[in-house]
Subunit: 163 residues, 2 copies
């Protein structure tokens, strides 16, 4: 049995040291750290989480646009249940309000309150600062452009087959 075990050892070490595994780990780790950095800055300075900021960004993009919870869930990679509770918390802190849709009585439209818009404006500043510092600054101009286009491709591939 020892020779078979030695065979495995080789395969195991090879798999654990694979280039792909390392690179993928780097992506996940960088994204996690970056999100944590933004999240704690936003919590400290504006009292909102990074996820709440993503909601506000979505809601402020086109003023007057009707945005349902389902829509938000898709955009934020959340389940509908997670979204319900997220909007609950945001409504409770007065950042957004739910409005019944006139066309479809199932959907709850979400819109920012005046206060939500005010908080968003302050948060956008913090957000920009952190993104600038850790996402743009470390990269050469060209690399930044290529990074984002690479991410677009990856994102497209992920969206395309919803297996």
């Amino acid at each position: 049995m020892i020779p078979e075990s030695r065979q495995d050892d080789k395969a195991i070490a090879r798999a654990a040291n694979s280039r792909l595994v390392h690179d993928f780990g780097l992506l996940i780790k960088s994204a996690t750290l970056l999100e944590q950095r933004i999240d704690s800055a936003l919590r400290r300075e504006c009292g909102i989480s990074h996820t709440m900021m993503e909601v506000l960004i979505r809601l402020c993009r086109r003023p007057g646009e009707e945005v349902s919870q389902r829509h938000l869930a898709d955009d934020l990679t959340l389940t509908s249940s997670g979204t319900t509770r997220l909007i609950d918390r945001m409504e409770e802190s007065g950042l957004v309000r739910r409005v019944a849709s006139p066309e479809d009585r199932r959907v709850a439209l979400v819109e920012p309150t005046e206060d939500g818009r005010r908080v968003f404006l302050r948060a956008a500043d913090i957000h920009a600062h952190v993104v600038e510092r850790y996402f743009v600054e470390p990269l050469a101009r060209d690399d930044y452009t290529r990074l984002t286009s690479a991410l677009s491709e990856i994102h497209k591939a992920l969206r395309e087959d919803v297996t």
Copy 2:
């Protein structure tokens, strides 16, 4: 007061539609989707989470190397408390075991069991498949190289100032 409000409207729309905000969102979203994809594949095929897989990768890298929980926590971007419970679950499912360090009686070294190594070997296959499909395939060879080097830079910047 209306003119002031209109002023804000402009600033709000500009902030919400900023290029940086969009690009950063893309990074976070791609990473999240990618991780979810891997996580569900691993759970379905091998009964382990993506986080557990990251632990196994770390433990199988250099066989015989002493890896403490602290070490794992740093590598996985987890708190020590999160790591304790993660290793609890992994120990319970027989994937790893805790061994007291002979040099420092505070530290708990973590090592993979035979079963853990077996599971890792199967999981590495799934892992490689998904990474290949959504991380490598969508990109031209050059773009892949540049993407990973850009990520390295970002990661370095994040590591450097631990503000």
